[in-house]
């Protein structure tokens, strides 16, 4: 889960890492606490600066109109949560620092560069990769001092990414985290209460909307991805990715189908290989949905745990099923093409 800048900066303050003075505005009347100010749209997409999500206010007269502009401007399709008003820091130097959980190293690694700022992507060669056993001689001492604080924050708050870009040195030699990207481990939200109010996606399954017209539901990310790949290889276009996860039951199945219906998807492939998932539970959900939505074409393949019972339920309710995933996909794609 991506964490908003204003929340992340609060956390940095909590761990004694310097950040500029700032406050959040969400609605009128806008409070002007200091000028000049940097106004930053609180969105979770990258490239905010280049997309016009950061403005500067020097006079009281322009403060209100610029905050207004940002509050009502979508950045890359995302509505802002609010606007962060921040003091301007006179910059002497910009660094790049990030901590991330590295799956190869099975450790928290540090990335550091002397060339921080919005063009860090073009300065990839200047990035040093190191870890907490071995950073002392590779990173300037001034920066090294804040690393243990960052590590403590990273561990205690269950982060998977903490990127400070830029980390700036002001004209007095003080370090400030000017802009940040912070990701929280979704699996740890249960013990990070501060994050709960920002949870947006409240489905009991994993859903990603795509541009095609064939709905896809499966149990397990791997099988859903393989089904999507096969649809694409057969000349179809997946409308979504939807992973019910392991152990899905009747009501979750109905909820998933209803969600796809709400996107006006007329054809849905269900590919279920039940291990921990019981096929009969899925079948019961299918039957209930189909009875209420006879116009939606379902292409079903269920196998694994409680398969016989599931097939009996489908048969009794005149829902066709396939024994093989590829023949199902070929049929579903062909029907779409005929109807185009």
């Amino acid at each position: 889960m991506k964490i908003h800048e204003f929340v992340g900066k609060e956390l940095l303050r909590e761990y004694s890492v310097k950040v500029p003075k700032s406050y959040l505005v969400k609605e009128k009347p806008y409070d002007v606490k200091f000028l000049p100010a940097v106004l930053k749209s609180q969105v979770l997409v990258g490239g905010r600066m280049k997309a016009g999500g950061v403005l500067f206010a020097h006079e009281k007269s322009e403060f209100e109109s610029k905050v207004d502009e940002l509050l009502f401007k979508e950045i890359k399709g995302e509505k802002p949560y609010g606007v962060l008003v921040e003091e301007m820091i006179p910059i002497q130097k910009e660094y790049y620092v990030s901590l991330l959980l590295d799956r190869e190293e099975k450790d928290i690694i540090i990335l550091f560069s002397e060339n921080g700022g919005i063009d860090i992507e073009d300065n990839k060669d200047s990035i040093i990769k190191t870890n907490f056993n071995d950073f002392e001689n590779k990173i300037p001492e001034k920066i090294s001092k804040i690393l243990p604080k960052l590590r403590k924050l990273f561990r205690e708050k269950d982060l998977t990414l903490l990127e400070i870009n830029p980390l700036v040195e002001d004209i007095n030699g003080e370090l400030y985290a000017l802009d940040i990207v912070m990701h929280l481990d979704d699996n740890a939200i249960f013990r990070q209460d501060w994050a709960k109010e920002f949870i947006e996606n409240e489905y009991p399954f994993h859903f990603v909307k795509l541009d095609g017209d064939i709905g896809i539901i499966g149990c397990g990310a791997g099988i859903v991805m393989a089904t999507m790949d096969a649809v694409k290889l057969s000349g179809g276009e997946p409308a979504n990715f939807l992973d019910l996860g392991g152990g899905a039951e009747k009501n979750i199945t109905i909820q998933a189908l209803e969600l796809l219906k709400s996107y006006n998807i007329k054809r849905i492939i269900l590919n279920i290989f039940g291990g921990i998932t019981k096929c009969d539970e899925i079948a019961s959900g299918l039957v209930e949905f189909k009875n209420n939505n006879p116009e939606i074409q379902l292409y079903v393949r269920l196998t694994g745990t409680n398969e016989e019972e599931a097939k009996r339920i489908l048969k009794d309710n005149n829902i066709n099923y396939y024994d093989d995933m590829y023949s199902m996909i070929i049929d579903a794609v062909r029907m779409v093409n005929i109807n185009d």
Binding site: T160, A188, A221, M225, T305
Partner: protein, 279 residues
């Protein structure tokens, strides 16, 4: 890995899945000697005694392996308890374990020379002999192919195909799809080399480099059996999460085209459709 003679304890045996799969594993012939649960009201599941902690389980039944169904918030403590009691093989079925907890589990398991498989995995099966896991057994007919997978359901799908249309399964190893996992593809290959299994199917997915590293190292160690690789997530849009946190496209290096190119350079065949695995 597993040899079929493991003396197994089920941690979290009184939960819905712990109960269900204890029954299925027993039927399959796995030696489940006892279970452990913090629920003090249940003393017995399917004729298997339920104890309160891993020390008692080791003392009373001399178990050496644990399969973990404990819910994610308590999983780390459960695994630590097993390691402290002297358990040497731990298979973690639980999904949604926080990554920081997995870092701790990984470190402590390596320090104590304990094999951890998972988390968020279907476990390991020796078809016809034993399974320490949750996979549907019908998909695994005994044979001579090793299947190594990061995805659970895709492992069932492909194993089922290999059972029907190819030479069957010698061992199915579900490593789990999380970013931080206990046993890597490289370590799974070490087992395959030791056991001299001559056919391997690796099921990988978009993101990370575990498959490439594992296969390259196996070749360096002199493995010359038949390796086929199937990837899921060709159509995953860049930068979108596809469920397994492990399946995020991390720039070009995690992309399937990059992995395919690397594998092609070392002479490994990448399969695009499951049906190509037949015969």
């Amino acid at each position: 890995m597993i040899n079929g003679n493991e003396k197994v304890c089920v941690q979290g045996i009184t939960g819905k899945y712990g109960k269900l799969h204890t029954e299925k594993m027993l039927k399959y012939g796995t030696k489940i000697l006892c279970g452990v649960s913090k629920n003090k009201n249940i003393k017995n599941i399917n004729g298997v005694e339920v104890l309160n902690n891993m020390n008692d389980a080791v003392e009373k039944y001399n178990v050496d392996t644990s399969i973990v169904f404990v819910p994610a918030p308590f999983a780390k403590d459960a695994v630590f308890e097993a390691i402290n009691a002297g358990i040497k093989k731990i298979i973690i079925i639980t999904e949604h374990i926080p990554q920081q907890d997995m870092l701790d589990i990984y470190k402590i398991s390596k320090d104590n020379d304990v094999m951890v498989i998972g988390p968020n995995c279907p476990g390991v099966i020796l078809p016809g002999k034993s399974k320490i896991g949750i996979m549907p057994e019908n998909a695994f007919k005994p044979g001579d192919i090793a299947v190594i997978s990061k995805s659970g359901t895709l492992m069932y799908e492909i194993s089922n195909y290999l059972s029907k249309y190819s030479t069957g399964i010698k061992v199915g190893i579900g490593l789990g799809g999380d970013p931080i996992i206990g046993t890597s593809i490289e370590e799974a290959f070490d087992y395959i080399i030791r056991e001299n299994i001559r056919k391997v199917v690796v099921i990988g997915e978009v993101g990370g480099n575990d498959e490439i590293n594992g296969i390259e190292k196996a070749l360096k160690k002199g493995y010359n059996g038949d390796i086929k690789v199937f990837f899921a997530g060709r159509t995953a849009p860049k930068g979108k999460r596809m469920g397994h946190a492990g399946a995020i496209v991390e720039g070009y290096e995690g992309s399937i085209e990059y992995k395919e190119k690397r594998l092609k350079d070392i002479g490994i065949k990448v399969i695009k459709e499951i049906s190509e695995l037949g015969g």
